[in-house]
């Protein structure tokens, strides 16, 4: 009776540029993706999985630079497992392309499955890959699996990249895979990629998700699946976290520094801030003083504590109080300028946003002068 323990991973997206991040964050994120390979290797070792199947999108694009390829291969070489890499939509297979390059440099423990033909992983275990040859394939890439013959009694492990037809959420009708493919193709397990989160579809089909999260919108950390396969039985699937960075999205409604403090305390409870990227949207209405104080806390403290803070403070409206105004100046030209700006903000014309920022700036400048005067 054939049995096998494999590690199922996908969507490494190596070489993703993270161009909108500052250089240091960019470097850290890129490095983390490569580090994920090491972590997968150690998870495989520790869980006794001798094979790592990667269900597509190993690389972020069809033609990453040599450095990425070399880094990835050298890290895989170090791990005492066999890596099965399959092209996905981001790194789809094509003649003369990326995969030829990878194959030509791959160490012996790295196998590339870029043709839709069953391949024997080891005695009694066959991998049925559905590599993608285009970024978008209208046809079901797994359709061929049903016709792939394997020796009787052997484990049939499907490897595919695409959306399950029932998702519907993305509206992306490419690379569609029917949800009952495991059953129709007689698969013991169908390892899927493309969906960056962990997702089980029935008993024998699952998305492993990416080992290292690469975008906001998915709070859970990256991970993989360790699947215990035994022919005739349902697979045992265990999700194991491998991600280093957490990508959190939050929307806080705060009106003053105290409220912000409460939120921050909760955030700290969620994990190590240095391993966290936070997309923070502020909402609510605050006085000028509070808004400035809130932003100062975020900019001067939180931003430094986090790996990265992506702050959108536009949602936090300003309602300057009389105290705010008085703080700028009670009389004279400053008071007049303040009044002019406040009127513009309240009138809500086309430049209301600019006026609000200008008012805030004026307030900040006034505070700065005050601080200077005190010193």
């Amino acid at each position: 009776m054939a049995a096998l323990r494999i590690l199922h991973s996908a969507d490494w997206q190596l070489g993703k540029p993270f161009g909108r991040f500052p250089a240091d964050v960019r470097a850290a994120l890129s490095e983390a993706r490569l580090d994920a390979i090491d972590r997968l290797g150690s998870v495989a070792s520790s869980t006794g999985a001798s094979h790592v199947v990667v269900a597509g999108d190993v690389f972020d694009n069809v033609e990453p630079g040599d450095r990425i390829v070399a880094q990835a291969l050298s890290r895989m070489e170090r791990a005492p497992v066999t890596w099965w890499l399959m092209p996905g939509n981001h790194d789809h297979a094509r003649a003369g392309g990326l995969w030829g390059r990878v194959r030509s440099r791959a160490p012996s423990n790295v196998r590339i499955v870029d043709t839709a033909e069953p391949v024997e992983m080891e005695e009694g275990a066959w991998l049925l890959p559905a590599p993608l040859e285009h970024r978008k394939t209208v046809a079901d890439p797994t359709a061929a699996m049903a016709d792939m013959a394997t020796p009787p009694g052997a484990l049939r492990i499907g490897l595919a990249h695409g959306s399950i037809t029932e998702f519907g959420a993305s509206g992306d009708a490419a690379n569609l895979i029917p949800p009952d493919r495991a059953r129709t193709a007689g698969l013991d397990y169908l390892a899927l990629g493309d969906w960056h989160g962990f997702l089980k579809v029935g008993d024998r089909t699952a998305y492993s998700g990416t080992p290292e999260t690469d975008r906001f919108g998915r709070d859970e950390p990256g991970g993989c699946i360790v699947a215990g396969l035994r022919s005739g039985e349902l697979p045992s699937l265990e999700r194991i976290e491998t991600g280093r960075y957490r990508w959190l999205s939050r929307r806080w409604s705060v009106a003053n520094p105290d409220e912000l403090e409460r939120e921050l305390a909760m955030l700290r409870g969620e994990g190590r801030l240095p391993d966290m990227l936070l997309s923070l949207g502020l909402s609510g209405v605050a006085s000028l003083a509070d808004r400035v104080a809130i932003l100062a806390m975020l900019d001067d403290r939180l931003a430094h504590e986090l790996r990265h803070l992506d702050l959108d403070a536009d949602g936090l409206g300003v309602r300057p109080t009389d105290d705010d105004i008085a703080l700028i100046d009670v009389q004279g030209a400053l008071a007049r300028a303040t009044e002019t700006l406040r009127l513009r903000v309240e009138t809500g014309g086309a430049d209301a946003g600019i006026a609000a920022s200008a008012l805030e700036r004026l307030y900040v400048e006034a505070m700065r002068f005050e601080a200077g005067a005190v010193r």
Binding site: F21, N61, A333, I354, A373
Partner: protein, 876 residues
Amino acid sequence: MILRSIALSNFRKFREPLRIEGFTDGLNIVIEPNETGKSTILEALRAAFFVRYSAKTELVRSYVPLGDDVAPRVAIAFDVKGQGWTLEKQFLKSAFVRLEGGGGRRESDAAEETLQQLLGFERGNSRGTDEETRGPLGMLWVEQMGALEVKGPNRIVRDSIRGVLEAEVGAVTGGRRFDAIRAGVETAYSALRTPATGKSRGDLLAAEARASAAAAARQAAETGFRDYEHALAELDGVKARLRLLERDLVDPETVETRKALEADQKVAESAVLRATAAEAQFGRAEEVARTASSRIERLAAAETRAVAASALLQEKSVAEAAARAASDGAGDEEKRLRACLDDARSMREARETALGQARERARAHAVAAAARRAVDARRALADLEARERLLVEEAAGAIPERDLGDLAKLERAAIEARARFEAGAVRVEVAVGDGVPLRIDGVESDVAWLDILAATKIELGDAGSVTIRPPRGAGRSIEADLATASEALAAALRSLGLDSHSAGVARNERAAAAARELTALRSQMAAACPGDATIALAPGADALRAFVAELGAGMADALPPADDLDALEAGLGEARLAEADAAGRHDDSRIALSKAETVLARTQAELGSALREDVAAREDLRNVLEGGDRGALEGALAEARRERAQKLEALEDAREGSRAFDVDAIRRRIENLDRAARRAGEERLELTARIASLESTIAREGTTGPAGVLAEAREEEDAAIAAVDKLRREADVLEMLRSVLLDAANEASRTFMGPVTRRAGHYVERLLPGSGLSFDEALGLSGVARAGMEEACADLSRGTQEQLAILTRLAFADLLLEDGAPVSLILDDPLVYSDDTRLETMTDILKDASSRMQVILLTCRSKAFRHVDANRMMLK
């Protein structure tokens, strides 16, 4: 502050002591010529108040009169707030200062300090040029031309005025706080944009440059990636083509096909050869058969021809004989008819001759008869003509009635003259013997008598003479009258050929009768000559006379001919008809003859050709028969036909065999196969080379990660754009803040300067009605608003600038005065550029001001200020 007196010695051009006193509280005008040292007075005042006694600066040394080594000294007496003060200051040598007043006396630094406190100024720099420290007096003591420059007041004045204004309208500008914040905003803004033009700079410029560089990089990356993708796609395509090509190249089916085609080609080619040979053999057999057949045909033709020629010859011989006979017959007939015609013609000619002769005879007879008639007529006419001549003669004797009348008168006159003569004259009758010559009055005469009326000598021969003398008296005239009348009568009778008048009358009667008869006679003569066409005689007597005269006497009397003309003519008609008939018949016969001759000629020609054809046909037949007789020929033909049928069969077989293969098509297919193989080989080479090239390109480009580069470039561009947007927004925010602050500052300044503007406005209204002043933050006059138009100070005329400068000083002085500051206005040579009206207005204003403060004008133009009511002082 009221200046009371000023004394100076060893000061510039005043080596000798100069003392001016008598300044009053109000308006003082110090008048002095140029170069007398009016400006030095103001200089001395400044030295006394603002320059430290101990100073040894260049300025101080300039106080020493040129070339002297003396101590410049100034002494001034003045009141402040009603208290009298004296100030003495000596520079350089034994320098000292002494201030007395306020119940005390101070010297050196104490004196200087007290002075400063008293007059509100500060210790300035050692050079004594620091305007900022001089306070109100520094502003109000205006040196020559100094007012031409519109400038803000010095710091002390500014601060004082600010203090006054803040007390009046409150602190409106925000002071240092505002300035600092504004400066901060300005700095932040100018880090991003040029304040003047709003052009990007600094971080914003860098960010924009980064964005455009990123866009360019992204475009380049896109191009690189696209090229790479194209290379990949092409490689894919090329490889697919190569695969197909190689499969085709080794396709066993193609090889088999080609072999089969080659075999087919051989078979087809031999079949074609066979068919060609069969075709040639058949052609030959057919030729033999055709020859045999044609020889038989020729024999048949020769035979037919010989028979036909013989028959024709026969026919033509008969026809020729018949034609000949016909021709001969026609010839005879023609001859006969020609004889008939000749007879008819002779007959007709004979009859014509006979008729002609008969007619000639008849005509001759007729002519002769006519001639006779003409002669007869002539004869009758001759009688008539004789008678006519007679009658003409008689008729011609007619005398005209008038002549006859005249004659009658003459006859009566002659009778009457005779009667009178006979009564008076001597008649002498003479009878002379024969031969005796009678001469009357010497003239021979033969008269038998003569009437003598005058002495007349009558000589008879030699016999002497008788002279007869009638009585004297009327005898002579009577004789003359008679002679005249007789002469006239005789002449008239002579001319008429008459003897007497009665004879004339008788003659006229005869002439008239002759004329009447002549008319009748002439009609008779005309009737007697009717003319005769027979003898070509025209009517008329003349023609007849001529005819007869020509006829002469040869006239024969002839009997009329006995011919029967009618019978003769009938005979001639018949003869003519007979001739015509004969001529028609003859013509017919001639035509018939001609036709017969033509037929004969033709039949003869036909006969000739039939003869020749007969000869030729015989010859031909003989020739044909030489090649064998009919039996032999027919045998040969049958043999040839059999042979031909055999060959045709063989040919059909061969054709059938070759038709199974289309040699050309087979060859084309083989060529096509070869060409395809050759091309495939070439293409394989090309494709292989292309694949190698593409693969090396891909290998080279792929390692740089074009897609990765593109992804990075895209994100870099997005990030750069985001950064630019952020900075732009910041710049926009700062720009708005900046403009709001500027507006606020301007507004504040307007509010703050209200009191100054009001006070100045009071003066300005008098000078420039309807105008307003505006001040900058340093309290400097910045412009004038006239009729809603803001004019910068610098754009105003010099005169106006000076006037405004004085007015604003006055306005500030008023404010300072209200603040209790010591104020004194000294103007050195002012209003030089003012016209008379302005000058008057200005002096009015100054006069007005002098009620509140002491005003001293130093001028060299005594006339200009003559109208001003003031304390005048002359400098000597």
